[in-house]
């Protein structure tokens, strides 16, 4: 169970990205986070693994207090939280397998990882994860030789290497075309349904939300404006989330 309590983030420039946001996510749920660009979706996800330090509020995960964890504790928490990014965030000049193995960095002994030595089991595991996302043959290519969809699969494989209990996906399909979007989303769905991993995924398209999400939270201007079943988003709610001028498409 992930509990977010009165979370507020004010950036150095005074911008209030999150404003007193509270909600809960039970284990194994697929939760979609929707909202306009700049509504605080990315900030919310990054506060959960503290890539961004929240200004106020608490985040509890299975009884552990994430917001007050020390740096060492935070590293131990982070390795159980996989993250998938809009721009994939692979290290371009490294091989695919190295990118995937990087997901193991929180577990391996730092001294050995500094000279790029990983245990045999980890390397086998990395190849397995690549097989799972369907790009086993690309393992020894450079990451920037892959297409966008393939790169995002590497990103998912990297997150899977962490043996995650939760995956934070920050607009994982926003820079991919719609066909690829479904393929990536179905990988996330598979991880969620078959491995029981909690998924928090920010999305732009409502049809993707309807198709994949168990539940949805909506942000507007940093405030939580909706929480519930995706089907309950009617025209009135829609305008509340996306602003008065928005039109439903698709």
């Amino acid at each position: 169970m992930l509990q977010i309590k009165n979370l507020t983030k004010i950036y150095d420039g005074g911008v209030k990205a999150l404003d007193n946001v509270s909600f809960e996510v039970p284990d194994g749920e697929f939760l979609a986070v929707i909202g306009l660009s700049g509504s605080g979706k990315s900030t919310l996800l990054r506060c959960i693994n503290r890539l961004i330090e929240p200004t106020e509020g608490q985040i509890l995960w299975n009884g552990e207090n994430i917001t007050s964890a020390s740096q060492d504790e935070m590293r131990r928490i982070r390795r159980k939280i996989g993250m998938v990014f809009q721009h994939f965030n692979l290290v371009h000049r490294s091989k695919v397998i190295t990118n995937v193995l990087a997901g193991r960095l929180g577990y391996v002994n730092p001294a050995w990882s500094l000279i790029n030595r990983f245990p045999k089991e980890d390397i086998e595991k990395a190849l397995q994860q690549l097989k799972r996302v369907g790009i086993a043959d690309k393992a020894y290519q450079r990451a920037d030789e892959l297409s966008g969809g393939q790169q995002q699969r590497v990103g998912i494989a990297r997150a899977l290497m962490q043996d995650p209990k939760m995956i934070l996906a920050d607009e994982p399909v926003a820079s991919l075309d719609p066909v690829l979007a479904h393929s990536i989303m179905s990988h996330l769905e598979d991880i969620n349904k078959n491995d029981g991993v909690t998924v928090l995924c920010s999305l732009h398209f409502l049809d993707l939300v309807h198709r994949y999400a168990d539940r949805v939270v909506a942000l507007n201007g940093g405030k939580l404006v909706f929480e519930g079943n995706p089907k309950d988003i009617d025209d009135k709610k829609f305008k509340e989330i996306y602003g008065r001028d928005a039109e439903r498409v698709g």
Binding site: L51, R75, G82, A102
Partner: protein
């Protein structure tokens, strides 16, 4: 309409005014740079210029074996009162000179004719003063060339060197024998240009290796997130000197121990083979490859103790290796003949290892202790009650600042020798402690302070200050430290390479994509892992290209570092310029041009292949 016209007039006036001002400034520049073409037109200048340009166009690379014919003819300047003396009569076969007239006043022209010389030879005809025969006098256009009969005619103006004694005109005609071969100057140039290239190579390698870690400390994006609470910072600062002192004592002791054991070659060999094996396996045991959960305190402590023992053992091995290198190196140097430089290299590497081991070990212990204490400080900040923490912060901050200021005081004592402990010991300690306490009072006890930015600023300032000192100036200091020669030049160029590359590198680190950094951090990697996996792959291409660029610069710099005694070809070049030996200088300049353009070509080729 009227308005626009007014503005345009005003505008033109302003442009005119600026043009006039520009011209005035330019005119002043003429005076300060002493532009003077009058000088260029003077005959004296033109003559020397032509002479130098011709010498430069004939680099002294090849020469012939030569035979010389030297013939003197006596004359009086001015004519003695008794009238012109009789010329000695010449017999038929030997070369001889005739002077017409046989005596003349200074400044008058005398016709010199040579007979029976070897055909097609050249050489100078000079005036030999009677009272100073060692200093020949050049007579302007005094180069004689014989025709196929061995005859030449030359009209010479006598110098203003009147004497009552007999004086001489001397013709020295030379003929080339056989094929040309490399001149001494060519050999010298070759050996010095090789020295130059290696000087640049070593300086670049040495500089690059040290610039890389420095560039991370000087990169804003890496240092900005580094924050620590006051207790942690204070303990880290205190850890450095204590660790360095402790490490230095231990490793010096290990060195002495090794020196005692090292006299026996068998002990030496045994330890060199046994120690790496023990260290490797011990390290494998003490540092397991993967640990899902934190092991118990006892296990961690045992591991730490084992690691410490292993490190001491490893350093013993290093000392042993150094002494073995020196022994083998000395033997090889004597035995290998032309490849004796390998023995020399081995000996010097052994020497470097022996000298630097204790120091590097001390630094490593300092770093380890500092980071260990830093963690303890972090823990203390998290666990201790607020009041206790405040008191602890006060003490630690005071002690840490006092240490820093005390060290600065010692530096002042060393540099300026005021000899007054109030200025160099007590004063700094008290000021430091007070500042530390002020800092502790005015910061929140648990607040993470931006220590990374402080380190970043200090490093940047240091780099900028040192970068502004030219390599030539550094060479002067190193010439005093290690003596005249290429080693001094190498050290100077190396140091300048470190500081300037560290700056360029760190700017590259600052411009990397932040996405991968964020992604690696999100996996639970620590800072060092983040740098290795997210930063380094991104900076490899610019680092290679900057290193090549710097190699280029170092080759060019090493050609002139010899001007201040830093070895390389510059020394020879400067010597030849000072001796007015322009043909020699020209050979060296040619060599520099060839090497620099070759380097340019090679580095651009390499850059294209690698990136």
């Amino acid at each position: 309409m009227k308005n626009t016209k007014k503005t345009s007039i005003w505008k033109s006036a302003r442009v005119g005014l600026f043009a006039f001002l520009g011209m005035v400034i330019f005119a002043y520049g003429f005076q300060t740079t002493q532009v003077d073409f009058e000088e260029l037109r003077s005959e004296r200048r033109q003559e020397s210029l032509v002479r130098v340009m011709r010498a430069l166009a004939h680099p002294d690379l090849f020469e012939y074996e030569q035979v010389e014919e030297v013939v003197n003819a006596s004359l009086y300047v001015p004519c003695p009162a008794a009238g012109a003396p009789e010329m000695a009569s010449q017999n038929g076969a030997d070369p001889y000179l005739t002077l017409t007239p046989a005596c003349a006043a200074p400044g008058e022209t005398v016709r010199v004719e040579g007979f029976n010389f070897a055909p097609n030879t050249t050489g100078p005809v000079r005036f030999i003063p009677g009272n100073d025969p060692a200093n020949t006098v050049s007579l302007g256009r005094d180069n004689a060339e014989t025709d196929e009969n061995g005859h030449f005619v030359l009209d010479l103006v006598l110098p203003k060197r009147p004497s009552d004694d007999v004086q001489f005109i001397r013709a020295t005609l030379r003929r080339n024998l056989g094929l040309p071969h490399f001149s001494q100057s060519a050999y010298d140039t070759w050996s010095k240009i090789v020295e130059t290239v290696f000087l640049a190579l070593l300086a670049t390698v040495f500089g690059t290796v040290l610039a890389i870690p420095m560039s991370f400390i000087a990169a804003r994006n890496l240092m900005k997130p580094v924050k620590s609470p006051l207790a942690s910072i204070g303990l880290s600062v205190l850890g450095w000197p204590v660790g360095i002192w402790f490490g230095y004592s231990i490793f010096s002791w290990v060195g002495v121990l090794s020196a005692q054991a090292g006299s026996n070659l068998w002990v030496n060999l045994l330890s060199i083979f046994a120690i790496p094996v023990i260290t490797l396996y011990g390290f494998r045991w003490a540092v397991p490859p993967e640990e899902p959960n934190l092991p118990s305190r006892l296990v961690r402590f045992t591991r730490l103790a084992a690691l410490f023992g292993l490190v001491v053992l490893a350093f013993f091995g290093l000392f042993q290796l150094a002494s073995l290198f020196q022994v083998v190196g000395t033997a090889l140097q004597a035995g290998l003949g032309a490849f004796g430089f390998l023995g020399y290299f081995l000996f010097q590497v052994g020497d470097i290892v022996a000298i630097s081991t204790a120091g590097l070990g001390a630094l490593a212990v300092g770093a380890a202790l500092s980071s260990f204490l830093g963690r303890i400080g972090q823990l203390a900040t998290e666990r201790l009650p607020l009041a206790t923490l405040k008191a602890l912060n006060l003490v630690l901050a005071a002690a840490a600042m006092a240490t820093i200021f005390g060290l600065i005081g010692q530096l002042i004592e060393w540099l300026y020798q005021p000899g007054n402990p109030v200025y160099t010991v007590w004063g700094p300690l008290i000021i430091g402690a007070t500042l530390g306490m002020v800092l502790a009072v005015f910061t929140k006890a648990k607040e993470a302070l931006p220590v990374g930015m402080v380190i970043y600023s200090v490093t940047r300032t240091f780099l900028n200050a040192l970068r502004s000192v030219e390599a030539l100036v550094m060479a002067i200091v190193f010439v005093i430290a290690v003596g005249i020669g290429p080693f001094a030049g190498m050290m100077a160029l190396g140091l300048h390479t470190i500081v300037s590359l560290a700056k360029l590198y760190s700017e590259q680190v600052e411009s990397i994509a932040s996405g991968p950094l964020e992604a690696i951090e999100a996996t639970g990697a620590n800072r060092l892992q983040t740098i290795i996996y997210a930063v380094i792959p991104q900076i490899v291409p610019p680092y290679i290209s900057y290193t090549m660029y710097r190699w280029d610069i170092n080759v060019r710099m090493s050609t002139i570092i010899g001007f201040v005694g830093g070895g390389g070809i510059g020394f020879l070049l400067q010597q030849n310029i000072n001796l007015l030996n322009y043909r020699g200088a020209s050979a060296q300049m040619l060599a520099i041009a060839v090497v620099v353009s070759l380097m340019d070509y090679i580095s651009s080729e390499l850059r294209e292949r690698v990136i």
